[in-house]
Every structure is written in C-alpha cells, then in structure tokens.
Amino acid sequence: MYNFDITRPTTVDEAVAALSADEAQPLSGGQTLIPTLKQRLAMPSVLVSLTAIDEMKGITEGPGTLKVGGGTTHGDVAQATKGSFAGLHTLASKIGDPAVRARGTIGGSVANNDPAACYPSACMACAATIHTNTRDIAADDFFQGMFTTALDEGEIVTAVTLKVPEKSSYQKFEQPASRFPLVGVFVAKHADGVRVGVTGASNNGVFRWAEAEEALSSNFSPDAIEGLSVSAEDLMGDLHGSPEYRAHLIKVMTKRGVADAS
C-alpha cells in the first residue's frame, strides 16, 4: 500500500550513499517501522534495509565495555549477555516476544528513540557511546527528546558501546498490550558511581534520575531513595497510566532494581 522503493546495501558505505536520496529512510529490523508505515505515519520514498550489512552485526567485549553492532538483534544481545551483564540481559530478553526479538535491532531502537523504547535507558545508565558512520556521540548528548536524536539526515547508528557496570538491573513495568514499558528503569552501579536511566515515562523521552543517582552512589540500597519523590510534571499521561501513576512507578521500579542488583 506504500509507494516506495527498497534497497538492500551490504556495506555501511553503500547504505550511506543510498540514504542520500530524497526522503530515504533506514529500515532495520522493521519491528517498529513496518507497523508505522501501515498507519502511514511515515512516508519514505526509499527504504534502505540495513539487515544485510554484516559489519554492523555482532558483539565484542572490550576492557570494561561491550560493543554491540547496530544490526544486532535483541535475541542475540540476550544470548550474549546471559550471566555476564544482568541488566542488559533482562532488557533484551523482555522486549516483545521471541519473534520480535529475532528481528528487532539495538540500532533501530536507539535511532528511533521511541519514548517507550527499552534500550535508551540502558545507554543512559551505562554511559554508552553511540557510534555512527561519521562520529561517536555520548548517550547523554544523543537522546534529545521524544523520537529526536543527535543523528543527522542520512547518518546511521553502526554500533553502541556500553560501559559494563559492576551490578545492574532493568525493571520494566509493562503496558500490558504493547509490552513496551509504561515505566522502565535501568539501574547501573559503576566503580565511579550509580546511574539510573528512566524510559517510558517522560514527555521528553529517556532521562537520568539525578537525585536517585546521587543518593545511591553513597548508599546502594533501596532505603537510600526512600525519601525521594519524582515530580509528575512533564511525565506522560495516557490511557495506560496517569503522570502521577508513572511518577509513583519510577520510584518503585528503581527500588526494585537496586534490590535486584544488590
């Protein structure tokens, strides 16, 4: 039902060239974009499929880091992090269902920056670096609000490098129908402090809960944030949950995450 062409480059360079066309749009696993096309929320003239680019697939361990190719599926991330990176393993293995995890990719998730996507919270909490075909961008600078990122037109997320925390946990409160997080909290305890990434909740997309990070950095226990609260202002309200409910859930999920990681 859509008037568009599709190309299937096999290298990043070919993909970048193809994306220089007018209204060209990258297509990764397609688990978000294809239903969006159906609703005609996106009207590209050319879809550049990134699934045939081998150099964008795979996971490599570095010193204290994990580099995940942009075309790596959630299923592969879940498999590779089992027993070694608890938070990321939980996150990847709870996205959608097995069929979605077999197709959906980290690059697609990060580049789309859906306010309810799971991966951005891990990127924030694990001080990730987003690699593109032209540059490296710190996660804190990359995510710029709902569906908005630092990516330029035609720029592709080729990989994501995450700092592997000492301890981590991902806690997702699912919107039951879509299984996206109504609130998702990624708690990561690094040698130099604790980072807390929150997704699903804010009108401004993924964010770090600074007060909780500070409190948890000096005392990594659920009690440390007992006295804190999250303001409902700027939080999303929709048919699945009010801003107040989301604010409440952020704290509950953070405490759960800390307890789980401890």
């Binding site: 062409d5 007018d22 294809i34 239903p35 097995p98 069929a99």
Partner: protein, 174 residues
C-alpha cells in the same frame, strides 16, 4: 535513484524448500506475499501489528512475524510456512498433540501457534510450563484459555526429550 523508483523489487527466496523468484511491490508484507502470490493461506493475517502471532513464520531458522517483515526483506532468505513444515514432518508430533488435547477451537491462531511452539522445542531440552507460557506470550488465542496449548507443548517436549530427537526435528525444516 531519486524520483524514479520502481516500487517493485525482484526477490529470490526459498519457500518451503522450493526456490521462488518473484517481482513484488516494495511495500508488500511477507505474509501477504505468501497468501496472495503463492496461495499459502496457512499463515493468517489477523492483527497486522505484530502483536497476535497468527502470521508467525520460520525465516532463516527463527520464528518471525509475517506482518512485520516485507517480502523484499526476505530476499535470499529461507522461509517456511505451516504447509511446508507439515510436508516435511517437522512438527507432526506437535500437530498430533494439539489435536489430541483440544489445543484449538476456531483454529485461526493454530498455525502460528505451532510454528512458535516448534521454535521453542527446536531449542532442545524440556522447557518449564512458565517458559512455554512466556515463549507463546506473543501468540494470542481468544478461544481456548491456553491451558490445553501449554499441555500439548509440554507433552511433546517430554516425548522428544525421551526419544532424543529434539535436535533432529529442528534440522528437518531448517
């Protein structure tokens, strides 16, 4: 390429073991390609949002949603539908168990359910009931209440483990 796109894409895909060459609209979903162009109506289009699982197929060894994949993306892929899996005898035991245990009513979800369940069983071992439930959580059934489905899958997992043929059943189709 700007401005003069063809909207049609040539693909070469293996469907149920047979090579297929086709020229498809770029926007055609894989499940529509199978149903409309190849007449393979076993995979059903139901929610078309990737939520219900009625269109679940096996692509390059993995269970995927036929409505969340374009036919063009399947270029070069190895695609199996319930019809092919049936002919190969890749899930005969599962099919028998579904019949014997009344793990279906209207049947609309059944082909997708069997492809998804077979995907789990091909991983080997005996999954727990909780694992079966979790694995099938993306395949909606509005009729049965799922109890019989979990029973059927569990019974086949045990039987396959006993026969030591968990791995072999996977090779048949992949």
């Amino acid at each position: 390429m700007t401005g003069e796109f063809s909207e049609k894409v040539d693909i070469e895909v293996t469907v149920n073991g047979e090579p297929v060459e086709a020229r498809v609209p770029a926007g055609r979903h894989l499940v529509d390609f199978l149903r409309l162009d190849l007449g393979l109506t076993g995979a059903h289009a139901s929610c078309e949002h990737g939520v219900c699982g009625a269109c679940t197929l096996r692509v390059d060894g993995e269970a995927v949603r036929g409505c969340l994949m374009l036919a063009a993306q399947a270029d070069g892929a190895d695609v199996w539908t319930i019809e092919g899996l049936t002919d190969q005898g890749a899930c005969t035991d599962l099919q028998r168990a579904f019949v014997a245990r009344n793990a279906l009513q209207c049947g609309f979800c059944t082909p997708g359910m069997i492809v998804a369940a077979n995907d789990l069983l091909n991983r080997g071992g005996i999954p727990t009931r909780a694992q079966i439930r979790e694995h099938l959580s993306g395949n909606y059934c509005r009729c049965t209440g799922y109890e019989a489905i979990v029973d059927a899958v569990e019974s086949v997992a045990r039987a396959r483990a006993q026969d030591g043929k968990g791995a072999r059943a996977g090779e048949g189709a992949a």
